[in-house]
Amino acid sequence: MFETPQFSAALPEIFLLGLTCTVLFVDIFMTARTRIITYSLTQLSLIVLFVITLMTFAWDPILTFSGNYIADSFSSLTKLVMIMLTFFVFVYSRSYIKCRNITGGEYYILGLFSLLGMMVMVSSHSFISLYLGTELLSLPLYAMVALRRESALSSEASLKYFVTGAIASGMLLYGLSLLYGATGSLELTAVSEHLVATDKVAIFGMVFVVTGLLFKLGAVPFHMWVPDVYHGAPSTVTAFITGAPKIAALAIMYRLLVQGMPSLMDSWQQLLIVVAILSMFFGNLLAIAQANVKRMFAYSSIAHMGYMLLGVIAATPEGYAAALLYGIVYAVMAVGGFAVISMLSKVGFEAEYLDDFRGLNARHPWLAFILLLCLFSMAGVPPVFGFFAKLGVIEALISVHYVWLAAVALIFAIIGAYYYLRLVKIMYFEEPSKMSKIRPAKDALIAVSINGLALLVFGIFPSQWITLTRTIFGA
C-alpha cells in the first residue's frame, strides 16, 4: 500500500528547507555589523538552489509522496523563475532595509520560507499540500509587511493583509471540504476522475475555491486589500509580494481548475470571464486616479491579473502557456518597477508620489530608462516583452472564438496605456522639482539593469520563451 517516496524528486524543497534552517541558525550569532554574512549566505543558497532545480528539471512528470507531490516541467520552470525573482528582490532589499532600521536576518529568512511555500504550492498535487503551501507562502508575507514596526501604515497594511488572507483561507478550505465530500478524495487525479459536470455540490465547492484563490491573486471583486498592502509595505517587500506569489497563485489555479476539475470547465470559465473583465475595468480605471505610484502599480497589478486570467479562460494548452508567460513577464516588470521606486527612496523619504518622479531623466537617466522599459512593458508597447505576453493571451482567446472578450481586453489595454505613458511623460518631459542626487547602491543598480534589459532583450527575441511555455503544456 505505502511506497517509499522518491525523495530525489523533491530535492529543491528539501535543500531549501535545510539551507533556510542553516541561515536561521547562523543568523543567531550575527550582530548588525556582520549581518552581511546572513545576506551572502542567503544569496549563495539561492544560487545553489537554482542550479539544483535546473539539474533536476523534470521533463517527465514524477508523482510521489503518496500523490501529494508532483514534479513536472511546469513546476520546474515556475520554481526557476521564482528563485530568480527572489534573488533579485533580495539584492534590491540589502541597501533598502539597511538604512530603514529593519532587522536584516529575519527579512531574508522569512523571504526564504515564503519561497519554500511557493515551491510547495506549484508542486502540490492534493488539496492538503496545496492548502499548506498557500499558508506557508502567506504567513511570512504578513510579517514581512509589518517589519517596519514604527510605521502605522505598515501595521495597518499587515493587519488588513492578514485578515483578508484568513478569510480567503477559510473560503478555500470550505470549498475544498465540499469537493472532498463530493468526490471522496483529496488527490487531484482521483478528484478529476470522480467529478461530473452536473454535480451541484462540486460546483458550489468550486465557487468557494475560486473565490479563495482570487483573494490571493488580488482580482476584482476580491481586490480591496491590494492597494493598501502595496502602499503600506516597504517597497522591496511590495516587490516581493507582487512578483513570485502571483506566479504561484496562477500555478495552483492551473493545478486545481485544469488538472483537478476539467469536467467543471464550463462553470469556472464563466466565473473567470466575469472576474477578468471586472479586474481589467476597475484596475485600469482606478489606476488613473492615483497620485501615489505604489497605489497606481497596485491597481495596475489588479488589471494584469485580469489579463493573465484570460489565458486560463481560453482553456487550451496555448492559453495556459500564454497565461504562464504573462505571469512571468508581469512578475519581472513589476519587480523592476518597485525596485526603481525603492532605489529612489532615501532614509526618511519614500519616493512614491508622481511628483517625486518629475524630471527623473535629468536626475538619473539610467534609472529613468529602466523604469521606462518596465512601464512600456506593462502598457504592452511593441519592442518590449510585455507586448508579446498580451499578444499571446489575446491570440489564444481569438483561436477559441472569444473575439468579443479579446476586443474588450484591447480597449482596456488602451485605457491602461494612458497612466503608464503619463508617468513616462512626467519623467522625461517635465522639469525636476528637486535636484537632490540619487545614489543607488551599485549591486542594486546592476541587478535592476539586468532586470530591465531582460524585458527589452526578450522582447526582441521572444520566440525561446514562447516555445518553452508551449512545450510545457504540450501545445
Partner: protein
C-alpha cells in the same frame, strides 16, 4: 431516534448556538468562554464519529491550553467594548442580507439529497486503535503535508518573535563579573567633615 442520534442533534444545536454567541457577545471574555463551549460540544461530535483521539486532542489542546491562554490575553488587554458594538450594529443589515443569501444557497445546493449515496464507513471492533491508525497515516501517506505543517509552525514562531522582539534596549540586567570585581573604594566615599558644634 436512538441515543447516538439524539446526542448528535443536541450537540450540533449547541455548537451552532454557542458559535453564534461567540460572534454577538459584546464582552470579549464571554465570547472566549462561548468558544470554549463550542469546542467542547464539537469534540463530542468528533467522538461520535469514532474520532476519539482527535476529539480528546481538541479538548486537551484547544480548551485546555489555547483558550486558557487566550482568556488570559483578553483579560489583560483592556478592550473597550462600546465602539466594537457600534460598528457591529452598523453592518447588521448588510450582514443579514449576505447571511440569508448564502443560507438559501447552502440549503438548496448542499442538502443531503445532493451528496448521492456515500458508502457507510466500516464499523470497527471495540479494540480498534484510532490513534494508531492516525499515526500510521500521518507518518506514511501524509508525511509530506505533515512536514510542511511543521515548517508553518516554525515560521509562526519566527514571525511572532520578529514582530514582538524589540532588541535589548534599556534592559536592567546585571553583570555578575563586574559585581564580583567591585572595589569598595568605588562605591563608598568616606568624607571627613568637621563635627558640628553644640550650641
Amino acid at each position: 431516534m436512538d441515543l447516538v442520534q439524539s446526542v448528535f442533534y443536541i450537540c450540533s444545536a449547541m455548537v451552532i448556538v454557542f458559535a453564534f454567541m461567540v460572534i454577538i457577545s459584546a464582552n470579549p471574555v464571554r465570547g472566549a468562554l462561548f468558544l470554549v463551549a463550542t469546542f467542547l460540544a464539537s469534540s463530542v461530535i468528533w467522538i461520535l464519529l469514532e474520532a476519539e483521539f482527535l476529539g480528546l486532542i481538541l479538548v486537551l489542546v484547544y480548551v485546555g491550553a489555547v483558550m486558557t491562554l487566550f482568556l488570559f490575553v483578553v483579560m489583560m488587554l483592556n478592550i473597550d467594548v462600546v465602539p466594537l458594538k457600534e460598528t457591529l450594529v452598523k453592518y447588521v443589515p448588510v450582514a443579514l442580507l449576505v447571511i440569508v443569501a448564502i443560507l438559501a444557497m447552502l440549503i438548496s445546493v448542499v442538502g443531503p439529497s445532493h451528496f448521492g449515496s456515500m458508502p457507510q464507513p466500516a464499523m470497527h471492533a471495540a479494540d480498534y486503535s484510532n490513534t494508531k491508525a492516525l499515526g500510521m497515516l500521518l507518518y506514511t501517506q501524509f508525511a509530506y503535508p505533515f512536514e510542511v505543517a511543521g515548517v508553518i509552525l516554525l515560521v509562526a514562531i519566527i514571525a511572532s518573535i520578529t514582530l514582538a522582539f524589540r532588541g535589548r534596549v534599556n534592559r536592567k540586567s546585571q553583570r555578575p563579573s563586574d559585581q564580583v570585581n567591585v572595589n569598595p573604594k568605588d562605591r563608598v566615599r568616606v568624607i571627613k567633615m568637621p563635627s558640628e558644634k553644640k550650641i
